[in-house]
């Protein structure tokens, strides 16, 4: 039954993809070629102007270009021209670093907020004000004060991935069942031990959900941040190809961003399943 459902779902997916590619292909077919253009003049013009090629690339163009990129993902032709693999590597490293810093700050602080109603109330106004700030709004301030664009990018990742983790950790810790804590108290378990053996396992699924939201946001932000500061990374790649008006490469970059984002999310989803316990 399940396998048949899976099979049918796969078929529907493939049909949808084929339909999408088909419509895309038809919509970007060349229109009629320009007539009465002298050959010397035509030599100076692009395919869009001479052969009525659509300004939007078709799926075949994108496929061919993608194959080109995949065959050589790690080439390095100087500071402004690196392979797609290297660019993705830079972005993942930045996200990883900023995210790790956020984990190191958000989880202990979230624990504190969750366990102490006083601190929770005292920090609440700050969190509420800082949480909704768009990550890119931090960028000029970061560039101006930190005076280093790659550290600024990491800072922006940090500042935007810290809030979901912090709030989820605090919420998870605060809503650990009272009975469990009371049992621990009865057995005279110390505060530190109680935190690690009772509260942490109980709050882990909520904490990991927060971490999963955060990695998604971090990946969203890195592209925009790199477009702004330039240099390296997949966001810079998008900007650079846009500067070249190469929509084909922009589409490829979008596809890559989507795939990497999905993988990051899946990794965190797997961790979440590992710590979740059946009740």
């Amino acid at each position: 039954m399940t396998s048949s459902l899976r099979f049918r779902a796969a078929v529907v997916s493939i049909v949808l993809l084929a339909a999408f590619l088909g419509i895309w292909h038809l919509a970007t077919r060349p229109t009629s070629a320009a007539t009465n253009m002298s050959p010397e003049y035509a030599k100076l013009m692009g395919l869009t102007a001479t052969q009525g090629k659509s300004a939007m690339p078709g799926p075949l163009d994108v496929g061919a270009k993608l194959w080109e990129h995949l065959r050589q993902p790690f080439y390095d032709n100087g500071p402004n021209d690196k392979g797609l693999g290297i660019q993705l590597g830079y972005s993942i490293a930045r996200v990883g670093l900023g995210y790790l810093l956020a984990v190191m700050v958000a989880i202990p602080l979230g624990f504190l907020i969750g366990m102490s109603p006083l601190i929770s109330k005292a920090l609440d106004p700050f969190i509420q004000v800082l949480k909704p700030i768009s990550p890119l709004a931090w960028m000029p301030l970061a560039l101006y004060t930190i005076k280093d664009s790659s550290i600024s990018a990491i800072f922006v990742i940090f500042i935007c991935s810290v809030w979901p983790m912090l709030l989820n950790t605090a919420f998870g810790v605060a809503s650990v069942r009272k009975e469990w804590i009371n049992v621990a108290r009865t057995l005279e378990v110390g505060t530190v031990r109680r935190a690690f053996t009772v509260i942490l396992p109980a709050a882990a699924p909520t904490i990991l959900t927060g971490m999963r939201i955060s990695i998604g946001i971090a990946w969203l932000v890195i592209v925009a941040a790199e477009m702004l500061v330039g240099g390296t990374g997949i966001g810079y790649f998008v900007w650079n190809e846009w500067n070249n008006l190469s929509i084909t490469n922009v589409i490829i970059a979008i596809l890559m961003i989507g795939i990497v984002g999905m993988l990051l999310d899946q990794i965190l989803a797997r961790f979440t399943r590992m710590v979740t316990f059946p009740e």
């Binding site: 320009a34 253009m37 002298s38 010397e40 003049y41 030599k43 100076l44 013009m45 692009g46 869009t48 102007a49 300004a55 032709n77 100087g78 500071p79 402004n80 021209d81 000029p140 560039l143 101006y144 005076k147 280093d148 664009s149 477009m227 702004l228 500061v229 330039g230 240099g231 810079y236 900007w239 650079n240 190809e241 846009w242 500067n243 070249n244 008006l245 190469s246």
Partner: protein, 460 residues
Amino acid sequence: MSTFDNPFDPNRGLHAGGCSCGQHVSEADHQAAQLQAQSAIESEQKRYEGVVASAVMRAMFPQDVARRAFLKSVGAATAAAALSQFFPLKTATEAFAQGGPLEKKDLKVGFIPITCATPIIMAAPMGFYSKNGLNVEVIKTAGWAVIRDKTLNKEYDAAHMLSPMPLAITMGAGSNPIPYTMPAVENINGQAITLSVKHKDKRDPKSWKGFKFAVPFDYSMHNYLLRYYLAEHGLDPDTDVQIRAVPPPEMVANLRADNIDGFLGPDPMNQRAVFDGAGFIHILTKDIWEGHPCCAFAASKEFVTTMPNTYGALLKSIIEATAYAHKAENRKEIANAIAPANYLNQPPIVLEQILTGTFADGLGNIVTQPNRVDFDPFPWQSFAVWIMTQMKRWGQIKGDIDYAGIAAQVYLATDATRLMKEAGLTPPTTTTKSFSVMGKNFDPAKPEEYLNSFKIRKAS
């Protein structure tokens, strides 16, 4: 008034007469005398001594009239002797001539991927930087504001900028005031007004009321030239049309999407709009102002003063590259050197059309304009004065402006003069020249009068 003419001569003419320095009847006489003077120079040492002595003399007596009075009363020889009492001319001369070791060899120079940056970019693949002992990485940057911030926070040692930017930064327009310098102009000409193909029949600017235009940056020659052009045709650029700041690649996309009617932008975007069949070239900016400056090579005053030798070597590379780019026969080679993804990332045929000046105009004609874009490093201080008149005209700066003072502080003409000579070029002997923009003469000595002569300007 170059550093190379003799300030110890009390009879030297003060006003431009028949030639560019004002001492000769005609430009031909001037050049002949110039040649003679050149061959008369006995040694490098002698020449540097003259340069340093005259620079010091000028520094002590910036007013020509005061200097003249002083020289008349004591005589030139006494003046030089008196000067060396206060200032160790010999040591200064040596330091200036030898250049000394480079303070820093690995440099980062930022650029925006447009053809204006050609000398800065091509100096890397074509070896001009390495020839002068530098290891320069040229780094593509996302926009003018980013390039400004990255040079201000020293991630870049120097950068490609729009020629009004160092003035704006120095005066604190649009950012904090930070002393900035512009030792070399990158390119002259090289921009165009491109209109959407749907306006093929609207060639008269008077019919452009309500148009939406794009320029790359508020503090840019593009903005001032477009405003000037519109105003000369009776349109008020602030009320009759819309002018927005838009990054160059988005200009072409917006033109195709019908969001804007045209733009005055940098190449390759004008030619790219033609290449992609989205627009046509209405007018080249060289037809608005023949020889106008556009982009520049800029560095902070701090870099210039703390690393004089590195700065000298870097500027020398740029000036040599600019001289190479100036020659028409090299243009095809340059187009191929800067086309790859690492630099401009454009189809070579587009760059070739721009640099060689034989191009499709988007209306079905092949046009030949060999100096569509040209490269000339000399930072004329009168360019700076003109730019400041336009900044004031459109309300970007207000109040009394020390036009000549700021121009001399930012546009480092003396460095360019020295290095152009070393590179085997003949620099001009003055730092200001008058020119005309759309047939209207500009006298750099009378900026306020020039400014007041415009009917259309922002009321302030």
